[in-house]
Symmetry: C2
Subunit: 509 residues, 2 copies
């Protein structure tokens, strides 16, 4: 027995060493957690009310209903709230001053969500539903708790944006309530910036930030978007990948032709698209577009160390996601998210299965997103993609081709794209970064996973480029939240922990 005990002790010490010194969480954290325990019903009720309002950015009417509700939620907490209008959805902006404070912390989240296909949801996306666990693990639908009742930590709240990204908004409000109830004062001036079109690519964000630059002045902006680490450990990230998406349509004949009479004579747009996409990556997942990996700004030593020290959850994730193999030629997920990527988001050409018709498809379309790292601008990567398409023999256009153009070029690809946004990376060694890491550690009682960048893209990059202010990500939601997909959900323990962490940031030394 002695021998085994010894081994275990060593192993624990090693783990502790790798992940940083663990200690008890602060008194403030205990007070906030205890408030959450006794106010779950009210917090979840307010959350459900917000989730019930559809929030796809293109739905302007409901977007304004979301903004109005969030404004009133903020005003109830004494935050001076206002809408900043731009060309798209309004930003809900608010300030909370702390007399005598010498530091200002901005906090970013977004209240819009990804488009939904209700047919693929188990329960409707805008009907918040509580379950005793994830749908995959057989979680059953349960009533929302009544005042005084407690929900299970592993229960999940299902709705579009339950995680991405209404969770931090609700958590911030609950954190303020908890601090007030515990008579704990905030230690910085606070600014809140809740965007309404992040999932639509934040296309008007840059202009809006430029027009309101002095409002944004702060010592740091905290981005409360994205998930915690897949090991469920709290993470802090210091940047994110940029992104630029493109929609590519290729053309066969000018109408759907009978596949018996014209198949293998008339060009097949679906096959043409398949071949074009296939030319973009090799079997290991490496992108074959010329220059795709050129210009990457190298990582610093502290960033390389942080990546090495990140817990390896690849095997766990592969089991969870039902994967027998991963792309990346043996590189870990932690390494891969520091590289540029190309992903096919979706593709469509005519119909399949019972709805398929025996025709030669006249058109086929794919949407791809390309993630960017520091040193590679959106426009540059897009140009490389277009050059690749041209190299495959396509005449690339922006509009639907005319009959005349069709008769001239055997291969035509229409490529449309937004501007995307660039990658950002705040140096981890800045004093404000260290303060945030320490505050999170004190809230949770253990050192967070430090990530030089988050794999996903966030407007953090636009904030960084417009303001030059340090950007630090403090995500709170579970990684397995089906973000961007059907059955998006939030694990309740992440909500309670998130409230504690955000309260910790608002009261950090």
């Amino acid at each position: 027995m002695t021998k085994y005990k010894f081994v275990v002790t060593i192993a624990l010490a090693m783990l502790t060493g790798i992940r940083g010194a663990a200690g008890p969480s602060s008194d403030a954290a205990s007070a906030v957690r205890s408030y959450c325990d006794s106010h779950q019903a009210a917090i979840l009720r307010e959350f459900a009310e917000l989730l019930a309002i559809p929030n796809v950015a293109s739905d302007a009417v409901n977007i304004r209903r979301n903004a109005a509700l969030i404004s009133s939620m903020m005003e109830r907490r004494g935050i001076a709230a206002r809408l900043i209008e731009g060309k798209g959805s309004p930003v809900v902006f608010g300030e909370l001053r702390k007399p005598g404070a010498t530091r200002t912390i901005g906090i970013y989240a977004h209240y819009d969500g990804q488009p939904v296909d209700p047919a693929t949801w188990t329960t409707p996306p805008f009907k918040p539903t509580l379950r005793t666990g994830s749908i995959e693990s057989g979680g059953a639908i349960v009533e929302f708790p009544k005042p005084g009742e407690k929900a299970g930590d592993e229960w999940r709240l299902y709705a579009r944006s339950a995680s991405d990204d209404k969770a931090p908004i609700v958590a911030l409000m609950a954190a303020l309530d908890a601090l007030k109830a515990s008579r704990i004062e905030i230690t910085s001036n606070l600014k809140f910036f809740f965007e309404g079109e992040e999932e639509a690519g934040s296309i008007h964000l840059e202009e809006l930030l430029r027009r309101n630059k002095q409002l944004l002045d702060a010592d740091a902006w905290i981005c409360a978007d994205g998930p915690v680490h897949q090991t469920r450990k709290q993470a802090v990230f210091f940047g994110c990948r940029g992104v630029v998406s493109a929609t590519i349509t290729v053309y066969g004949a000018n109408r759907g032709l009978h596949s018996g009479h014209y198949g293998n004579w008339a060009p097949n747009a679906a096959m043409m698209l398949a071949k074009l996409l296939a030319s973009m990556k090799d079997d290991s997942g490496r992108v074959l577009i010329a220059g795709f990996y050129e210009g990457i700004e190298p990582l610093g030593e502290d960033e390389k160390r942080a990546i090495r020290e990140m817990p390896d959850s690849d095997a766990q994730l592969m089991r969870e996601y039902g994967m027998a193999a991963a792309e990346g030629a043996g590189k870990s997920l932690a390494e891969l998210i520091n590289e540029p990527s190309l992903n096919v988001d979706g593709m469509r050409s005519e119909d399949i299965g019972a709805q398929a018709r025996n025709i030669v498809p006249p058109e086929a379309t794919a949407t791809v997103d390309m993630r960017l790292v520091k040193g590679i601008e959106p426009a540059r990567q897009l140009q490389r993609l277009i050059a690749h398409i041209e190299k495959q023999g396509f005449h690339v256009v922006k509009e639907t081709p005319s009959q005349e153009m069709r008769l001239k070029y055997p291969r035509i690809a229409r490529v449309t794209s937004g501007d995307g946004y660039q990658a950002a990376r705040t140096p981890m060694s800045l004093p404000i970064c260290k303060q945030v890491i320490k505050a999170v550690e004190e809230s949770t009682g253990s050192r967070p996973v430090l990530m030089p960048v988050l794999g996903g893209s966030a407007p953090l990059a636009v904030f960084a480029s417009v303001t030059g202010i340090p950007q630090i990500g403090v995500p709170i939601v579970n990684h397995d939240n089906n973000q961007h997909s059907s059955n998006e959900n939030l694990r309740l323990k992440n909500l309670w922990d998130g409230i504690v962490v955000l309260a910790g940031l608002m009261t950090m030394k």
Copy 2:
């Protein structure tokens, strides 16, 4: 002038030589044509009534309404009509005896149509609409003619199955009316067989034919399906390609994952499908599946000659369809339809454009159809396809994979398929074939285009294999009818010509 006149005369003589001797059409043909001229309104009214009933094979209620209307149309012409019931849609069968006739001619058509996506139709698919020309050429909507009025020859009737394949049913009825009005008697016993699930793959046809074999006894079966030649010349065909379709689904992770956090690490099902499809054909359109072209039963000398003599309409079609290039490495369309083919009918993976989400698609599906020629059975070609998919590293299954299977195999493809049907080819030299060719020639006044096989597939092949009776195709509809696609239509001149041709068959010597 003399010189030029001479050249023109020679050219005309050459054309006549190539396409067979032209002569005036028969007296019977003139009488039928004159009847059509004065009864257009009534014929089109009856046609529109039939087209207004939705006819997708899976819609059992409306399929029976179609069958009931067709039965009553037949009974009005003195045909003893009945429904032959099987597992699927009923067959509408009828007989018209000619006392003393020593020959029996069966005529096949089908009353069901391809599935429709109403959103892609200019006018609703089951609201028959008359236009002054094709939509592509700017044809305007016009009223149906009133009794005594005439429609333009280039006018088009738009509706699902206006061509494929309710047109021959209506034309046969009109032909019988015209013959009766002109006091011209039929010369053979006639059998009518109108199928109700051809577009659903005629999956129950073989069993139904076997159970009713003596009913089908005839000297020949005429298949009134498919379009006339693209030069608008009347065609006669003697076989058709077979077909077998397959739906292929490939799998990535067991859910849609955020492309920023997991892209280029989690396998992308859309890219996997693109690579799989791309592996199936080379850039010239040649199928790369091992053995795909093996076992083809060679064409006879008369068939080869018929192919050589077919008018070359490839350049005209490419202009019409907006194609700058064709597949087939320089082979003509007429040659290519005598080869097996593989066509992607459609593919789907998540969403595109404004509906695209930044996720790694968990699934991607394509439906392909493979056309078959004599010597290659459906099951054999399907097996070659599956072997090819396996050779690309996929574990091929019939059901949705379990979590356990996902963790075992990096690549899984689910392949589902119907039985398809085989190709058929009746020897062109049979006496009955010559009689039919002569009857068509007398109706139209010129030698028809003779096609050893039609590119499309027809239940003709099932008739051939079950009955062993010669099968001859006499199509009547225009090739540019958007068959199987949106905005299906019939050019009215094809209807009037078709009535004359079918009347000619019913009165052939």
